[in-house]
Amino acid sequence: MNEILGHFNYGIVILLMMMGLYIVIASSNLIKKLIGISVFQVSVFILYITFGKITGGNPPIIVDNVDVYSNPLPHVLILTAIVVGVATTSVGLALIVRIREAYGSTDEDDINDIDKNDNFYLKNRSTT
């Protein structure tokens, strides 16, 4: 029983990761894909933090008469990873705004169709 309870958190976090990945692959809307990627990243952060936890341990802030601290290293890594995630999301959203203005739509399949007849048009354009 203790084995299953110990791994319960990991199971749920993996389920979250897979839902995030599913959103990225299944949705054809560009913004929905970005939200899927953010969900995927946040669930990886939760996985990292569940490593660092000690049951009965205190947050890694030194207080007298306490000696069991949970591990500070995953927290440092995740602070870096959160900022990386926000940076990627903001660049992605800027790209989507530009794509919307250039193509007129934020749907992956519409954009692929417009690309296809762009290529066709460019290929047999007579040279100047």
């Binding site: 791994h7 389920l15 897979m18 569940t50 802030i61 927290h75």
Partner: protein, 325 residues
């Protein structure tokens, strides 16, 4: 009583997360999905708090729920609102997702149980960090000590990441210009309430910046809180006034300045032939040097994050909406 209470909270929060993500798959109105993502960040920040990660909860709430939601909304303003459902290709997605899920579960099977004290990660580096922070750096918050001093090079890389994101968004969208006719119409109650709130937010930002060594806080969180103070000002009083308070032209220079502050603090230790980012060289007694170094570095990070986030917000909200009728 405490143990099973934590277990109940843990299970409920995880259940909330699953429900939120499941709902955001189903809903096609992107406004609602963005708001659900806001709650998703809030609940995951709660979970971090429950798992003793105080700093991470602070950052996730400030950056995830605060800034990302506002950013996605300003992006939605410029693009369409509804998702085109008939283009769903779930048959392609399912096999890949199931395969990765199986690989993850296979990998997780050998992990030590969650929270048991004799897992390998608690015996190799963590005790040294805790011991050395007390002896050499002597500040209560070990996470800030590890972030700024032990792995200061990582945080330098991270400040450059936020700086490069600012440069990238500036390249894509430009600084934006505001002479839109439609400013937010005058809402007296909001105006009266928001004025003291902004003062409170800015003071709270300063408190978080310098409280980083003792409790939850630090450069990133303070930068984001400062920026959301100005974002609130521009939301309520309109973009033209906000750009009068802080013009968009100086923001890229400020974020470059933040990165330079961080870099120069590191280079100063090179003068006395110590390695890069070694704060012991900054002043006579090493512990004082560490404190000074961490203070300077956090100030650099705070400045870089504040100016970049405000810059990104200005680029998005200063852009014209193009109609495709």
């Amino acid at each position: 009583m405490i143990a099973n209470l934590e277990l109940v909270i843990d299970i409920c929060l995880l259940a909330f997360l699953i429900m939120i993500v499941f709902a955001s798959i189903k809903i096609t109105d992107l406004f609602a999905v963005t708001m659900l993502f806001g709650i998703f960040s809030f609940v995951s920040a709660l979970l971090f708090l429950d798992l003793d990660a105080v700093d991470v909860a602070f950052t996730e709430a400030a950056v995830g729920a605060g800034f990302t939601t506002v950013l996605m909304l300003s992006a939605l303003r410029l693009t369409t609102r509804f998702e085109n459902v008939k283009h769903r290709h779930s048959l392609l997605g399912l096999p890949i997702v199931i395969l990765t899920g199986a690989a993850l579960l296979y990998g997780v099977a050998d992990f030590p149980n969650m929270g048991d004290a004799n897992a390998p990660i608690h015996h190799h580096l963590a005790p040294d960090f805790i011991r050395l922070t007390q002896q050499k750096i002597d500040i209560p918050n070990i996470v800030t000590a590890v972030l700024a001093s032990f792995r200061g090079y990582d945080t330098f890389g991270e400040t450059v990441v936020i700086f490069s994101a600012g440069a990238a968004v500036l390249m894509l969208l430009g600084m934006g210009h505001v002479e839109r006719k439609q400013e937010p119409e005058k809402n007296l109650i909001l105006w009266v309430v928001v004025k003291p709130m902004i003062a409170l937010i800015l003071i709270f930002g300063l408190y978080v910046q310098f409280h980083g060594d003792f409790g939850a806080g630090g450069g990133f969180q303070a930068g984001v809180i400062f920026a959301s103070g100005f974002i609130l000002y521009s939301l309520v009083f309109g973009e033209t006034y906000a750009r009068k308070v802080i013009p968009a032209t100086i923001l890229p220079r400020l974020s470059a300045l933040g990165v330079l502050i961080y870099g120069v603090t590191g280079l100063m230790s090179l003068i006395s032939n110590k390695p890069f980012l070694d704060y012991n060289a900054l002043s006579s007694n090493p512990v004082g040097g560490q404190h000074l170094g961490i203070l300077l570095v956090e100030a650099g990070v705070g400045l870089a994050v504040f100016s970049t986030i405000l810059l990104i917000y200005y680029s998005f909200s200063g852009r014209e909406v193009i109609h495709y009728e």
